[in-house]
Symmetry: C2
Amino acid sequence: MKGSSGGDDPASQPARPPTVKDVAERAQVSPMTVSRVLAGGANVRPQLRRRVEHAALELGYRRNENARSLRPGHKSGLIGVTITNIANPYYAEMQGGIEEVAAQANRRIIVGNSNEDPDRERQLVADFIGRRVEGLIVVPADPAHSDHLDSDALGGTPIVFASRPVPGLDVDTVLIDDIGGAYEATSRLLEEGHRQIAFLGTRTSVLTGQRRLQGYRNAHRDRNVPVYEHLIRTGQQEAAGAEKALAELLVHEVPPTAVFSANNRNTLGAIRAIAKFRSAQSQATDLRLIGFDWFEFADLSPVPLSIVAHDPRELGRRAAQMLLARIEGDLVRPAETVELPVELQLEPRGPQ
Amino acid sequence: MKGSSGGDDPASQPARPPTVKDVAERAQVSPMTVSRVLAGGANVRPQLRRRVEHAALELGYRRNENARSLRPGHKSGLIGVTITNIANPYYAEMQGGIEEVAAQANRRIIVGNSNEDPDRERQLVADFIGRRVEGLIVVPADPAHSDHLDSDALGGTPIVFASRPVPGLDVDTVLIDDIGGAYEATSRLLEEGHRQIAFLGTRTSVLTGQRRLQGYRNAHRDRNVPVYEHLIRTGQQEAAGAEKALAELLVHEVPPTAVFSANNRNTLGAIRAIAKFRSAQSQATDLRLIGFDWFEFADLSPVPLSIVAHDPRELGRRAAQMLLARIEGDLVRPAETVELPVELQLEPRGPQ
DNA sequence: TGATTGTTTGGTATCGTTACCAACTGCCTG
DNA sequence: CAGGCAGTTGGTAACGATACCAAACAATCA
């Protein structure tokens, strides 16, 4: 490296990155020879090879991958990822899993935040395809507006849905076993003798929430235990709403003796509601609480808590693996949906 | 769109994405006219324009951005981001802030996980430059091994360091006010009358940790309060280590009456240690605890807690803004270091 | 020595796109 | 009716890299 920053002459050069041609001139060879050296140096005289390597180093030459990917047979090495909310630790973990597998396959990920907006998602996907990504991993923003995710619309670019299904599209999908996890948790509560179990969840247009409610209902049905509809409270996206909802239920004439909360936001609200209710009442009326999703510091909950734990990182890994399988040839295999197992932890443990 | 997936003939075509040439043939015009239509359609007869638009839609044509970025004057629209640990919610938030600002400037981010390994970081940066990213945002893995981040080595690609400084490199940097935050927290404890304040932190090769320790020392120095060196415990990267370290201090002959913990991992360990110590002792010996970093559910801590809160999302935003300023022309302004303010929250609040 | 083989090197064309220029159209003006 | 002009269209070249072929050369054998 030379001492100055940028090109050779700070003033005269317009700081254009060097090309094979520049390296070739400096090494007094043809561009082809430079290309050959950079490709491994087979069938190049050692003397020339050293000269070229030296010139490349001096100029700070880097192959232009965009130009390279233009040539027939070459791929971009990019995988496009759209996430509904990057800042959510759950999806952050998932992205970590995707990146891990992609990196092993020498691919980079290009990430966009759809912010739960299908229009934004459409733009992002269009941009990614324009960059000739080899494949897409998408957390679908809205199953009802997903025409742009149809394989026809993608022109053959492989795609995998992560975390949320899109009914009607025949596409590889990786999900958490929402139904099974909710079923297991509810069953546990029923087996412990509870007959009035509150359900706290998000709005049911989020399919994940819908599936967890279904597991709750299935568990009741299979044991011939009636569901108290007034104990089912959906629509709480944030902790504050969940706290309010449970607080109302606790003073109902038929109050719950146990609570199943369908995600960690609702669990947090439930914990607060129970903690406040306990300090208001003189006796220690501890409600039984099971929540879907692990969260940091779950083991420090001031209220006894069990959780349905799962591994978003593994979800990301699996999605990336399925995508790479498609990319590396298997385009005919029928679309597949994988449901990752969950684990009912009676005592929450540390990070997974 | 046609009914079949991929090209026109599922069997005969090798599923190559359509090009301007394909669209031109179908619309019975020259490639140039197609290009013009796609560029906005100025000076094209409406009839032809419609024919081209129709043909493009039918074929599912998308401009190849890689080919486009090859032409002089055009940029890649990519920003490279390397993070030491994507799964850490702190950096996930930061990435969210970067993406937000980048998206507004119609840029995509391409993300790699360095996993605290400077070699991996070097590879990622090389790859990004090969893809002709317009700029880089890097959380430096190891300040001592950062030659590859020198502006000479980058060949003029603008770079911004986020969250951690690299002494010796004259580069735009966005930091948290570590020293000030630690100073403020420690000062508060001293003003409350505490004279034996434990310090829990990471290994000091992480400069962030080093800066927080400095703030702790400065607060003592400015008030002429001696520091008990045995109360300073660094080297705990995870909660388990922090719990053990504090447990040892609590049975020391000169035990702490308050604890300052320099990051959320250590805070978690401290909470656990204090909770266990409290239940072991019969009396309620509540240690005063202040921790650096906000974390989810901090308000649910079973042990009284104050925190030094800051906003990683804003950090990401600022880094992206500084980078974009460089990209969009301002290459001569001298390198700048910004320290974002922190807030001492005596009662932890919800997410920022 | 001439023919044959193998190695090293460079010229040319191409990937997909678009800037630039040239050519052509139809229309208006002098 | 020639000349000019605005509007429209297509040909050519270039961005950076490299696969393919051909040329030049050295080494080997009959």
